[in-house]
């Protein structure tokens, strides 16, 4: 993978749109289809929002980093925060509330995992918390 770009976002809801703008520019140059670019926009937005809200817990003195890297067939986007990391077992998986309506919250990871080709969390001791997403050009 060749690193293409790195952004440092302020830890404020809405800042994810800066990352989306960059992602769109890169994905267009790589030749992604329009519908896949829309998928990437939503997945990246949700990863950034999770980092701001659950990773950095809205702390204004923290940052969210986004790195873009690519090869001939794929675009990799990594979103990292300064938080404690995520226990995958604690992420809600139930989509329907007791009243039969969709649950009110908890769609970030669900959307990401359904919109990108590969998705993983990583937290190494003493290091940053990362969400890694991979989009295949022909995916």
């Amino acid at each position: 993978m060749e690193q293409l770009s790195e952004l440092q976002l302020p830890n404020i809801l809405g800042a994810e749109k800066l990352a989306i703008k960059k992602a769109v520019s890169i994905a267009r140059k790589m030749g992604f289809r329009k519908d896949r670019i829309e998928d990437l926009k939503t997945a990246l937005a949700e990863a950034c929002i999770n980092a701001i809200e659950h990773g950095n817990k809205f702390a204004e003195n923290t940052k969210v980093g986004v790195t873009f890297a690519s090869n001939d067939t794929s675009l990799q986007v990594v979103v990292h925060d300064e938080g404690e990391g995520v226990d995958p077992g604690k992420i809600p998986t139930e989509r329907t509330a007791e009243d039969g309506l969709p649950r009110r919250r908890g769609y970030g990871v669900f959307l990401i995992s359904n919109l990108v080709n590969e998705f993983s969390f990583e937290k190494k001791p003493g290091q940053r918390n990362e969400v890694k997403m991979l989009m295949h050009l022909n995916g």
Binding site: G14, I49, T96, D99, L101, P102, Y107
Partner: protein, 114 residues
């Protein structure tokens, strides 16, 4: 970041129309919620959500729309939506929102199917 949204309400017979232009997020969802709580809207038997095809909707915005769907169900309101891009129609299907807010391709279809 500001509240990048424009919300207006109008009526067509017994249908209250909420027009939404801009970002649908946790922050701007409050604006949509306020429009829904307007007496002329919240008591209408039918609600039409009119989206802009260029709108941006995130999970916080979906939560705001689920709140409206929940209140609408308690009042036996019918809520329809149209104007969404293909992508956000897909997202509505993914999260199950179309079970309570059916999405239509055109305004005419949304109105006729109430």
């Amino acid at each position: 970041m500001g509240k990048d949204i424009q919300v207006s309400t109008s009526h067509r017979n017994d249908i209250a129309v909420i027009s939404i232009k801009g970002d649908v997020t946790a922050v701007t969802g409050e604006v949509i919620g306020s429009a829904y709580q307007n007496n002329n809207v919240t008591n209408a038997p039918k609600i039409l959500l009119q989206f802009d095809k260029d709108c941006y909707i995130n999970s916080g915005g979906l939560a705001s729309l689920i709140d409206i769907a929940s209140e609408g169900r308690k009042k036996a309101q019918k809520i329809h939506a149209y104007g969404l891009s293909d992508h956000f129609q897909k997202i509505f299907h993914m999260v199950g929102l179309t079970r309570c807010i059916p999405v239509f391709p055109t305004e005419e279809a949304a109105m006729e199917n109430f």
